[in-house]
Amino acid sequence: MRTIACLAAGGVAIALPFFVGPYGHYLLCMAVIYAMVALSLGLLLGVAGQISIGHAGFWAIGAYTSAILVTKVGVPFILTLLVSGLFAGVAGLLVALPALRVQGHYLAIATLGFSLVIVHVLYEWDGLTGGRQGMFVPRPSIFGYELMSDFSAYFLLLAILAVTLLLVVNLRRSLGGLSLNAMRLSDIAAQVCGVNRATTTMFVFALSAAITGVSGAFYGAVLGQLSTDSFTLVVSLGFLTMVIVGGLHSVVGALLGGLFLAYSPEFLRAFEEWQMFIYGALLVGFMHLLPDGLASLPRRALRLVRRRDA
């Protein structure tokens, strides 16, 4: 049953671009890019119980690392994905360093401060990043072939997303994922059972940041240009909104969240001024009414039906 559902979802994901136009391809690419961020944030928030309001910072590191390596050094795009992930991961490790000493939500403030510093640095370092004007980024390429259209880039993205999914799903089931879960539920009990709080927190931060970095590398390449405006606090909070709307505690929720963040600007275009307000209201509303997000709807509905039968 589970395998069939997975295969069906994969089939739909592969078939979808054949039914939409070029702009639809672009939106699908964005949905996959966002879904990767949602997966990484879901890992941090849903599994480890740590919040980050600075994921735009890791995203920026990934995007600029890849763009600079491709344009200034001439490294193939596929290789830059690895470097982007590595750099963002190391940054994640640095941000999580306070985890050695502090508990609770202090780390959230550290992530916020970090992302603002990163954007500040990128903005000032205009010799490398183009500063205020930003920089142009070549299309993604694989083994020397440039993926000129979003149609072809989508399939590369889908492949990377599949790898990420596999990684995250397996991590959730592994000892590491279980100890993270235990940490979220009660850090004292987890530590009594032999979970090292500091190293597990740092590990999940680094992994989450690395996945976001890879997603950032794709973001720059698909968009074709980068400027520091793409990595503001609003973007970080948008990421948070998508994870909450989709659902924290499952991979399905992360995918739904990615779709939400890519398509919601289309639906909200008529109320452009209200977009941020709606994001905020969604955060508050979901926390009050549906804290496990859209992904928990089927289960809730099922429970409701059963109750009526009984």
């Binding site: 401060g113 909070l237 926390m287």
Partner: protein, 290 residues
Amino acid sequence: MNWLPLLLSGLAVGSIYALIGLSLVIINKATHVVNFAQGEIGMFGTFIALSVLSATGLPVFVVLVLSFPIGFLIGALLEIVFIKPVASGPPLNVLIVTLGLFFMFNSLAGIIWGFDPYRFPALFPTAPIAVGGAAVSPTSLGIIVITLLVMAALYVFFEHTRYGTAMRAASMNPFAARLMGIRVGVVATVSWGLAAGLSVMSGILIAPLTFVDQQMMLAIILKGFAGAILGGFASLPGAAIGCLLLGVMEAFVGAYVDNTIKDSFAFVLIIVVLMVRPQGLFTKALKRKV
């Protein structure tokens, strides 16, 4: 003698941070969560004050005094409507709600009042006065004096009044406090009101120096965090002193080292303090009972 004006302007900016830092600590003590919407509540209240000012033509100082009850109402209402229903859940949920409130207030201010900066009338005379051979801005002095008065009032309230003592008790041990007849739920509402009142005051104090727009408190709330963490998030006096210290350090770093790193300085400081001395400079490490 150019260190005196620098010290005073640093202390003035630090006072603004301190008001925000104090409100963060008050809410953290009551609800055990960091309220990310604190700065935006202050910004929103400042806009309301500006509207009141231009509609009624009251003197600026009356509006400054009125700002506290306005803020108190906003904060208390927010707590009752948005926070109380989720307060029994995991703290993470409350934190996310405050982030949602941040979004809502930030964009609502833009929708209502537009995205252009407004000028706020000066609270104090602008001509510098000479103190010991150095030119000192009366605005800085005024901000410092008002903040000190507010801090003294807070101290008296928390240490020497019945309700202040009840609030401290509710923060230390909610269960025991409830057994003693303290309505812990009401304490949380009052804390939110108190904190919002302080934030609106800080917004009005800083408004004549910057401008009033929907981004005005963004940097300030971060500095408030940084200062409170520097001094110790668990204690009101510690947080206040940390914020003042941060303001002074910023002023000197900006003047003697480099003005562009002034803004990033606070954020680097947050991470360093959290790594080296997470309980802050002035408080002892909190021991948790298992």
